[in-house]
């Protein structure tokens, strides 16, 4: 028998299976050992899911509103500080999220540099839903900024130059020339950012705590279930609900972010 010419295809297929099989294993484990149905009926699960979606979406909105101008600025600038800032923005990707949580506490915590004067003014951040968003923003926004930065940096600046010579305003140029060119990068970064925010655990736990209805997002509910008597089975049951939900939303997001509307 002759080896098929495209033998190398086995490699990416195997790599694909490396991701798919454990996920199927998780689902199988939850269906056989866990009790997904009872978790679906539990209002606590829905409360955690609602909070997760709300906070991850707020995080994404903030990341896009604040991150897009930052990425544009960094990509447009040739200065050393811009490179340095871009590098610093990658750091939260390396930090274990628990460490990010401690870093946030040193600033916004009750004894933090900003948290102390803020709490004097009667405003506390830690243990609030706002703290969940800040934790997610710190951990997840770099994914968006990184992607947007790469998109802006790869764009040929002559396109914008031509638009200016044709008399287009800065805003009009950005909207009709720049944005369509970098759209795939921005959309990809947005999906990454939203997904990372949805899965955020460590920084949220440290900075925002874990209180059902206020700060307990899905990952925290999963951790809580794991440490409780529900144990592994309980944790996995909640986890597959999160996975199923995220899968549906990711497919929708991918569709929405592909300009032609086709799912490729």
């Amino acid at each position: 028998m002759r080896a098929p010419r495209n033998w190398w295809v086995a490699l990416p297929v195997l790599f694909g299976l490396f991701f798919v099989v454990p996920l199927l294993g998780l689902v199988w484990f939850a269906l056989t050992e866990g009790d997904v149905a009872s978790e679906l009926r539990s209002s606590a699960t829905w409360e955690a899911l609602r909070l997760s979606v709300l906070t991850a979406t707020l995080t994404l909105v903030l990341a896009v509103l604040l991150g897009t101008p930052l990425a544009y600025l960094l990509a447009a600038s040739e200065a050393g500080w811009a490179r340095l800032t871009a590098t610093l923005l990658d750091l939260p990707l390396v930090l274990p999220p628990v460490v990010s949580g401690i870093a946030l506490l040193t600033v916004f915590g009750r004894r933090g540099y900003l948290g102390d004067p803020l709490s004097e003014a009667g405003l506390t951040l830690s243990f609030t839903t706002a703290a969940v968003v800040l934790a997610q923003l710190f951990v997840a926004a770099p994914y968006y900024v990184r992607a947007a930065y790469a998109g802006f940096a790869a764009m040929d600046p002559r396109f914008e130059g031509v638009a200016y010579t044709l008399g287009l305003s800065r805003w009009r140029t950005f909207r009709s020339v720049t944005l369509p060119l970098v759209w795939p990068a921005l959309a990809g970064g947005a999906v990454l950012c939203w997904a990372r925010a949805l899965g955020e655990l460590g920084a949220t736990l440290l900075f925002a705590g874990s209180l059902p209805g206020r700060t307990q997002t899905m990952p925290l509910a999963i951790l809580s279930a794991f440490e409780s008597n529900a144990g592994l089975a309980g944790a996995v049951s909640i986890a597959v609900i999160l996975v199923a939900f995220a899968l549906v939303l990711m497919v929708l997001l991918h569709r929405a972010s592909t300009p032609s509307g086709a799912y490729r």
Binding site: R111, F127, L205, L220, N229, G231
Partner: protein, 263 residues
């Protein structure tokens, strides 16, 4: 830049890398497999025993110099899960009787022995104005407790139920987080993010700058239960007895645990 390889005959190079591979493999097996010999006792213990257990084991080893220990600490829940998934060890010490019962139901562990108990208290910083449990009811006090279905959380609920209803409600209103375990609740106190935390007496004893406030005396203790695992290869009967011996009692007490009176 291309690094030049040293001019070593291919066969020797192969031999070298082969030998290196073998050494590495052997090291990995040694580390993973530990040892099967009867003088090594493999213990899986609840993480709250991290400070006290090594002391007791050292004490035991003085009388039994041939014995060595391999101890792994983790949450009782994680350990029970690992055992269910096939982790091999001789002795399991759980801080959570329900996790122990889970393994009993699957015949993964033998008879249970209570080796010590621990008490739930309210931990506050040394300088705190909080003197009694009732002081927690004041407004603006931030409190960390553990989730209602971990042992410490169950005890917290029981403690609150023993208090005056109105006061208990005020205390509940001050709860800002229901943490997955006691360590996290404790770390919030150390970070200054909360004013008080419902943790074990032993946690307070092990942490500088904290003092404990007693909860109603009607509140029961949390028991540490030990049992021989089904996968055991070493004889641990002696060690189990040592845990409840007079010699160990002093060590338990010094760390804030209550030793178990035997016979």
């Amino acid at each position: 830049m291309v690094a030049e390889r040293p001019l070593v005959p291919i066969t020797r190079r192969r031999w070298r890398s082969g030998a290196a591979g073998l050494v590495l493999l052997a090291a990995v097996f040694l580390l993973l497999g530990g040892c099967g010999d009867a003088h090594t006792i493999r213990v899986l213990a609840a993480s709250s025993l991290q400070d006290v257990l090594p002391e007791i084991l050292d004490d035991y080893a003085e009388a039994h110099p041939e014995t060595t220990f391999q101890v792994q600490f983790a949450g009782s829940q994680s350990l029970a899960t690992q055992i269910e998934l096939g982790a091999k060890a001789d002795l399991f010490i759980s801080a959570n009787a329900q996790q122990f019962a889970r393994l009993e139901a699957d015949d993964l562990v033998g008879e249970r022995t209570v080796i010590a108990t621990n008490r739930l208290v309210v931990a506050v910083p040394h300088g705190s104005a909080i003197e009694r449990v009732e002081d927690l009811a004041r407004s603006g006090i931030r409190i960390a407790i553990t989730a209602p279905d971990v042992p410490a959380g169950v005890l917290t609920e029981q403690a609150l139920a023993l208090l005056d209803f109105a006061i208990a409600e005020e205390i509940r209103a001050g709860v800002v987080t229901e943490d997955p375990n006691v360590r996290i609740a404790l770390s919030r106190l150390e970070l200054g993010e909360v004013d008080a935390a419902f943790v074990y007496l032993t946690d307070v004893e092990a942490t500088a700058d904290l003092r404990s406030i007693d909860l109603p005396s009607a509140l029961g203790p949390n028991s540490y239960v030990a049992g021989v695992l089904e996968s055991a290869t070493a004889d641990v009967a002696d060690l189990l007895e040592h845990f409840t011996s007079d010699a160990a009692a002093g060590i338990w007490r010094a760390a804030g645990f209550e030793p178990v009176e035997v016979r």
